[in-house]
């Protein structure tokens, strides 16, 4: 007997709504949720490979306790009681000797993040961090500096846009189904697409205008666009007059940044910049400069992301159809969001965070996410205090934090490393204990509040029984908590209990999700009134070009542009990115996805390759100040001569993931751990590398 279950995918963090068909405790079919506008049944390749993850015999099948040296691959299978007791005993000793703050938990944000935050608060540690800063910490800070909202509190109405400008936002390979379809919809209706990237991607092949910009100089381009827009009075004057604080300061600041000046810096002809500015002005306010998904390229990242959002503001496209909007929550229509365990009362924590976010060292990055890339230095220097235990949950510091050897050196100093994981990731392979989690088709999950033009709530539902001896992370943490004497903070026995507790007071119950997989707080799109109703959260209530957030912390709103130097002869900037088949570092071992893209290659410009004696497909050695490795070359005209490119997420070292083991190399091996010290993102595109035949 077939059964239909509405749920959410979790092959990547986008969590698209899906419809699943189950029969005899097996998954027969997955498609995008046909009831969700903009999804309409569509499913990306990673979602299409969900069934093969369910069946994959290379998943972690039982709790594992390490028996040999770390990373040696010597394990014993354990029962849940053995594994949890082992972790709890070690943690008790560590907390007793070094305090609760000596425990750090890092994860990729997900529906049960409130459970892991609760776990840490209850043991007296301020040290929860998410992957977010590593991806887009500076985008978050940039948006708060202008609007008082984080980037994730803002959305993009691409389907109604008339002109979309993307700075390396490779939306047709780094796919989020709904936004990707929105762009296609806009193009169908005649919208223009401008794509700016040192490398030709699939998105570039679909664009009307493609600029192979000199790497690291997008900010110069944007200052020149502002120069033209202000000089030619192309901006939305009533909107700017009403909403902007600091327009005159901007006007004075961009005065010297002419298109001719920017042509020297970026390699883009001045006249083309002027043409773009005029084209956009014609279609304003239904135009948008996308602020990026990942925003972690250079050490001035916050100023690039601010410049993008300033351009949107000049076009009047903030809170506009076809532009950006502020996401509306249930409160906007008198509704209530699901409760979270973090709403409980906890003992006061005196210690500062391990990454010093919220102190004068890092006043601006978002303490809700922290700065994961600061973990190795904090451990190695015992600054601000000794860190002794690390729990990672759906997060791999070895492949996601730049400079793998520094991270490894730091992890060696820890007394305990625990992974809550589905696959034999690199960090799972290195851990003392692996606590295997059920994959998304095997578990119900906490509600997902989907704020937007129409606030909604989605629910992931268990479809089949777990294939192996795995549990939900929220159950694992609860059971660990019980052993540490903090069980009272987890008032549930099953995930279903927890969901019921969370839904209390929302007016919705489990059954409400069964028909379509989601509930809606309203059926109308909510746009605030652009003349008078935009509820900005900055101190001035305006869009702050001159930012009180920055200036009060001692940073400039408009620091003078610094020339970004070309690499020395025979050196390149290493840039990284995504393809449609893989999610970050987590899917490379999936049988179907690995079949299509099984390793990464090093893109290198044809003329540079000829000089270096490198032919297409040959093995090359790529080396940075941190490490070197061998990888196959992809020789092409379609990449800027100053950069080489590789896909992120390859070169796995967890041997039991046999398909991905040692295939290609990891960008984190080569990257230096340097950051935008104001905004919080790492500067992933500044590392210099050499390339030679292997």
């Amino acid at each position: 007997m077939e059964r239909e279950v509405y749920s959410n995918c979790f092959m990547c963090s986008v969590r698209c709504p899906i419809r699943v068909i189950e029969e005899n405790d097996d998954v027969k079919w997955i498609e995008g949720n046909p009831h969700v506008a903009g999804i309409d049944g569509a499913l990306c390749p990673r979602g299409s490979a969900g069934m093969s993850l369910l069946k994959d015999q290379e998943r972690v099948q039982t709790p594992m306790i390490r028996t040999g040296p770390r990373g040696s691959g010597k394990w014993k299978r354990a029962t849940w009681d053995e594994a949890l007791d082992y972790v709890a005993d070690k943690m008790k000793k560590i907390i007793k000797k070094y305090g609760g703050q000596s425990v750090v938990l890092g994860e990729r944000t997900q529906q049960s993040t409130h459970v892991s935050k609760t776990f840490l608060k209850a043991i007296g540690s301020p040290n929860h961090f998410t992957h977010d800063a590593l991806c887009k910490g500076s985008v978050n800070t940039a948006c708060r500096s202008l609007f008082g909202y984080t980037d994730s509190q803002m959305g993009v109405d691409m389907g109604n846009s008339k002109h979309i400008v993307l700075y390396g936002r490779n939306i047709m390979e780094s796919i989020e189904v709904k936004p990707t379809r929105s762009v296609m919809k806009a193009l169908d209706k005649g919208a223009k697409l401008t794509y700016i990237d040192p490398r030709v991607t699939v998105t570039a092949t679909k664009a009307h205008r493609y600029w192979m910009i000199r790497p690291g100089t997008d900010l110069a381009l944007n200052y020149a666009l502002m120069h033209v827009i202000i000089k030619e009075r192309l901006y939305d004057k009533p909107y700017v007059d009403r909403w902007v604080k600091g327009f005159q300061e901007l006007q004075a600041f961009v005065q010297p940044y002419t298109p001719e000046w920017a042509e020297e810096e970026t390699g883009i002809p001045a006249q083309e910049m002027i043409t773009l500015a005029r084209e956009l002005a014609k279609d304003k306010p239904s135009v948008l400069f996308h602020f990026g998904y990942r925003g972690a390229n250079n050490s001035n990242e916050i100023y690039l992301r601010r410049s993008i959002m300033i351009l949107n503001t000049l076009m009047g496209s903030i809170e506009s159809k076809g532009g950006f909007f502020f996401k509306k929550g249930p409160g906007e229509v008198g509704g209530k969001p699901a409760r979270k365990l973090t709403e409980q009362k906890f003992p006061k924590i005196e210690a500062v965070r391990f990454d010093k976010v919220g102190t004068p060292d890092f006043p601006l990055p978002d303490p809700n996410h922290g700065l994961g890339q600061m973990l190795p230095a904090a451990i190695l220097n015992e600054d601000p205090y000794p860190i002794k235990a690390l729990i990672v949950y759906r997060f791999d510091p070895l492949m996601s934090i730049p400079d793998n050897s520094l991270t490894l050196e730091a992890l060696k100093k820890l007394d305990l490393v625990v992974s809550i994981e589905i696959n034999y990731s690199d960090i799972a392979w290195y851990s003392d204990v692996i606590l295997p989690e059920s994959m998304f088709l095997e578990r119900t999950d906490c509600p997902r509040q989907a704020n937007g033009l129409k606030p909604q709530m989605f629910l992931r539902r268990q479809v089949v029984t777990p294939r192996y001896d795995t549990r939900h992370g929220a159950i694992i943490l609860k059971q660990l908590g019980e052993r540490l004497g903090i069980g009272d903070y987890f008032p549930y026995n099953t995930i279903e209990d927890l969901v019921k507790w969370q839904l209390e007071g929302t007016g919705f119950c489990f059954e409400d999700f069964e028909k379509k997989g989601f509930v809606a707080y309203t059926d109308k799109q909510i746009f605030w009134d652009r003349n008078d109703g935009i509820k900005l959260k900055t101190p001035s209530g305006k869009i702050e070009f001159v930012s009180s957030l920055l200036e009060n912390a001692g940073f400039e709103s408009f620091p003078a542009y610094e020339h970004f130097p070309s690499p020395p002869k025979n050196e390149f900037r290493l840039v990284v990115g995504r393809c449609a088949l893989h999610t970050h570092v987590s899917t490379q071992n999936n049988p179907y996805l690995n079949e299509i893209v099984s390793e990464n290659k090093l893109w290198i410009n044809s003329s540079q390759a000829a000089n270096l004696g490198i032919s297409d497909g040959s093995l090359v050695t790529v080396a940075s100040s941190r490490a070197s490795g061998n990888i196959k070359a992809y020789v092409t005209d379609l990449i800027h001569p100053e950069v080489v490119f590789m896909l992120h997420g390859f070169g796995h070292q967890g041997e039991r993931g046999t398909r991905a083991f040692n295939k290609g190399i990891s960008d984190a091996l080569l990257q230096e751990n340097i950051s935008d010290m104001i905004g919080g993102s790492p500067a992933l595109h500044e590392t210099l590398v050499t390339v030679k035949p292997a």
């Binding site: 079919w29 997955i30 498609e31 995008g32 309409d40 049944g41 569509a42 499913l43 990306c44 390749p45 979602g47 299409s48 490979a49 969900g50 069934m51 093969s52 047709m172 390979e173 796919i175 189904v177 990707t180 379809r181 296609m184 169908d188 005649g190 030709v200 699939v202 570039a204 092949t205 679909k206 664009a207 493609y210 449609a580 088949l581 049988p591 179907y592 996805l593 690995n594 079949e595 299509i596 005209d637 379609l638």
Partner: protein, 167 residues
């Protein structure tokens, strides 16, 4: 020719391979056979703009299929009611003659089954009033399936809009 037509609106295809992956998931195929496949040609510069083609290759379900004529056991068949070309695995002996006969490489080898496999337009789904797996989930909805004269005139409409230039 089957009475159906599977149309790929190449302008909307982003070469993501989701069609390939769902096809394998739906048919529970091992690593190896690609019953449908996206082939990327390019990218290269065309008038200084980068262009690429993402070509979708399922089975064409020919009117007079080479594979059916070549099959020595009668496993490869054309369905009488609608012309879908499919393999009856009870009769397939794994001789690979169909793979040699097809000019486009549509029949593939399933190493676990030891038999050929091919696109059958998901005829079990079609018989239930559904579309083939690839068409149902296509990320950008660039794949269309239906009776040959019922496919929307997407390219004509797009061209008409372009030449009308009412703006």
């Amino acid at each position: 020719m089957s009475k159906y037509y599977l149309f790929q609106d190449a302008k909307k295809c982003i070469g993501c391979h989701s069609c390939e992956v769902i096809c394998k998931s739906n048919k529970n195929l091992p690593v190896g056979p690609k019953v449908c496949q996206i082939l990327t040609i390019g990218p290269r510069l065309v008038d200084s703009v980068p262009k690429a083609a993402y070509i979708f290759m399922p089975c064409f379900h020919c009117e007079d299929p080479w594979c059916v004529a070549a099959c020595p056991t009668g496993a490869m068949q054309k369905r009488a009611k609608d012309g879908i070309v499919f393999i009856d695995h009870d009769l397939c002996v794994g001789c690979k003659t169909c793979m040699s006969a097809c000019p486009w490489g549509a029949p593939q080898w399933d190493p676990e089954l030891g038999k050929a496999v091919k696109c059958d337009y998901c005829m079990d789904r079609v018989d239930r009033g559904l579309k083939p797996a690839c068409v149902t989930i296509c990320t950008t909805s660039c794949l269309h399936f239906g009776e040959s004269n019922e496919i929307p005139a997407i390219r004509r409409e797009r061209y008409a809009k372009a030449v009308a230039a009412l703006d």
